[in-house]
């Protein structure tokens, strides 16, 4: 999770403790759901169906600092207690160590709204499942600094992985690595042929290491370029999702971008690719329907639960509070564009709303 974001979101639910993170450009989201059975004791403190769920976020570094040295943790720590009392000012993490020694950390936290990327695995046209090892061995061929990789489906059920070179002109100057995996390397392949997606490899590597260490098969759900790719890991006590934005295709211009949809989202911290709005349109499905332009003002109240796709998670909101931090507006939105901070702007653009210096039409 620390490879994704600087803040760790904690949400205790009836179905377990959920730990989440999102990156600064909102193009990557990950959640780890630990079922109650994972714990020796699990009390989410939810009394009744109407009880308010407590959510908070802490600094990722502070949280990780408590579990600094894994080998020494394994050697000397017996139990870990995570405790939040009502009206407490700190989140308590207590490690019960050898020799009766107790290490108690009181972490400052911030209450927060629910962090949830909106995605629908069921609507993904393609699905791949492979042991983590296969993907680790594939990815090792790419340099550690490689930002994006393209996953494609070819003839005969073969799957390809290729590094993504953004600038056409540079193609002849950069080394291109492409590798093909046969269908039988995967545990299951259910893909629509000729499809491909480009996503950020760096953020994926974090999950891949976890999958390898925990020896769990990795499932990749994807659809058209521009729609998010979802990586999942499943275990009896753990459910992991990593949702990454994918680059939209220059060719697939099927959805007319709408200015309305994006304008209210132009907050100072975001540079949008216009391929965003085609995705956004899909996002606002619960109310606006498919494909049409999203409503001009971002609904600060969540869509009614009855209308939302049952596959999508419920979003409970308390409504807008003036002066809430800007990111709260994005709590239910997942951006389809691939944004790498520091770059002038994604090079594949359709109609650019927020023009960058290299804007192509």
């Amino acid at each position: 999770l620390s490879r994704i974001g600087d803040e760790l979101y904690l949400e205790p639910t009836e179905s377990g403790l959920s730990l989440r993170a999102v990156n600064s450009s909102r193009s990557a989201f990950a959640s780890f759901l630990f079922a109650p059975l994972f714990f020796q004791l699990y009390d989410p403190g939810i009394d009744g169906p109407d009880a308010e769920v407590f959510r908070c976020k802490v600094h990722m570094k502070s949280f990780l600092g408590i579990f600094r040295s894994l080998p020494s943790l394994e050697k000397s720590v017996g139990k870990c207690l995570i405790l939040l009392k009502p009206n407490a000012s700190h989140l308590v993490l207590q490690l019960h160590c050898k020799y009766g020694v107790t290490k108690t950390h009181n972490l400052a936290f911030q209450e927060c709204e629910r962090l949830q990327a909106v995605f629908d695995i069921q609507s993904c046209a393609s699905r791949l499942c492979a042991p983590a090892r296969v993907l680790v061995e594939a990815v090792v061929h790419f340099p550690p600094t490689l930002a994006e990789v393209t996953l494609g489906t070819g003839a005969g059920g073969k799957i390809s992985l290729r590094n993504y070179v953004e600038d056409e002109a540079e193609q002849s100057k950069t080394m291109v690595t492409e590798l093909w995996l046969a269908e039988d390397e995967f545990q299951s392949v259910a893909v629509s042929p000729g499809s491909h997606i480009t996503f950020c490899l760096k953020e994926f590597r974090g999950l891949l290491s976890f999958a390898e260490a925990s020896n769990l098969p990795l499932t990749i759900h994807f659809d058209e370029p521009g729609r998010p790719v979802v990586f999942t890991l499943d275990d009896t006590v753990l459910e992991v999702h990593l949702v990454l934005a994918t680059l939209s295709d220059l060719e697939s211009n099927s959805q007319a971008p709408s200015t309305n949809g994006v304008s209210h989202l132009a907050t100072p911290s975001d540079d949008f690719a216009d391929d965003l709005e085609s995705y956004m349109a899909a996002m606002e499905t619960s109310e606006a329907g498919e494909g049409g332009p999203p409503s001009p003002t971002f609904p600060l109240h969540t869509p009614q639960p009855a209308e939302s796709n049952p596959e999508e998670e419920e979003e409970e909101e308390e409504g807008a509070v003036p002066g809430t931090p800007p990111h709260k507006k994005f709590r239910s939105l997942f951006f389809g564009s691939l944004m790498t901070p520091g770059r002038p702007g994604p090079s594949t653009t359709q109609e650019v709303l927020a023009e960058d210096s290299d804007g192509e039409c």
Binding site: G100, V101, T104
Partner: protein, 281 residues
């Protein structure tokens, strides 16, 4: 490998002369108190003491008894000089710091007296190095006046239990707070850093606790930057004694067993950052 010393020329008398088969017995101990560039050396018939101070708040002493040396002779009652500890350590480890089994650097140390440099003869594998380190006028040192009769609380812990704690201290905290009490939490180390507070509790019946004599509840804070260097001494030691007096002054005494199984001691004294009286607790 025993080193046959160059005998002093007739008529010359050295205020201090000592021989040590394994210079590491001295260098490792000196490293445990090396948090300042300069140190004051004291030599008496009992042995060598090296003192380092900082900020008029903290003092560390390394003791190497005469028995540790193969030869130790002091001509005056007390020989005292100030010297660059960094240079002294560099010279003692001139053949390298890695300890290959079976090899050791032999040392001969000579000091003629006031105004003369400290001479070191170091030999390893037939190669001899001669070092001359200038000495200075000794500074006035702090006297913590920490005597056993003033001790309010004392515990002796096996170092193993504290090593990790000290190495992982939250350095964003300005202070290290030490609580010693006959009641819970018995012995607690606390930091108050950017991420929040952290408390490390050692119960009185822990296997690590060799002795527990706490008479009253005391909570004292010490500047963490001053105490952090003591981690080196902790790493070398097998046991540590932690004592506080009525003013909250802290004494840490580390028992160190060297490669030959001989015992040496390093102690740290530190004054409290603020004194929290029992009434304020």
């Amino acid at each position: 490998m025993p080193f046959s010393a160059q005998p002093p020329a007739s008529g010359e008398r050295y205020a201090l002369s000592a021989s040590l088969d394994n210079a590491r017995h001295l260098s490792s101990l000196l490293r445990a108190v090396h948090f300042q560039d300069h140190a004051t050396c004291f030599a008496t018939a009992l042995g060598l003491r090296v003192t380092v101070e900082d900020a008029k708040c903290i003092q560390a002493n390394a003791f190497i008894q005469a028995e540790i040396f193969q030869e130790f002779s002091v001509q005056e009652e007390l020989v005292m000089f100030r010297i660059s500890l960094s240079v002294l350590l560099d010279c003692l480890t001139i053949f390298g710091t890695s300890s290959l089994p079976g090899t050791s650097t032999a040392l001969r140390m000579c000091y003629r007296g006031y105004g003369y440099p400290l001479m070191l003869f170091l030999e390893e594998g037939g190669v001899v190095t001669v070092c001359k380190i200038n000495t200075q006028e000794p500074d006035e040192l702090l006297d913590f006046d920490f005597c056993s009769t003033n001790v309010v609380n004392k515990i002796i812990l096996q170092s193993e239990g504290l090593r990790e704690a000290f190495a992982e201290l939250d350095m964003t905290s300005e202070v290290l707070e030490i609580t010693m009490s006959p009641d819970k939490p018995y012995f607690r180390l606390s930091t108050f850093g950017n991420a929040g507070s952290a408390h490390l509790d050692y119960p009185r019946d822990s296997d690590l606790m060799e002795a527990f004599h706490c008479n009253e509840t005391q909570k004292n804070r010490y500047k963490i930057s001053l105490l952090k260097p003591s981690t080196k001494a902790l790493a070398l030691s097998c046991k540590v004694s932690i004592r506080t007096d009525a003013q909250g002054f802290l004494s840490l005494q580390y028992m160190i067993r060297n490669e030959d199984g001989q015992l040496c001691f390093v102690e740290y004294y530190c004054c409290p950052d603020e004194i929290i009286t029992e009434a304020e607790l």
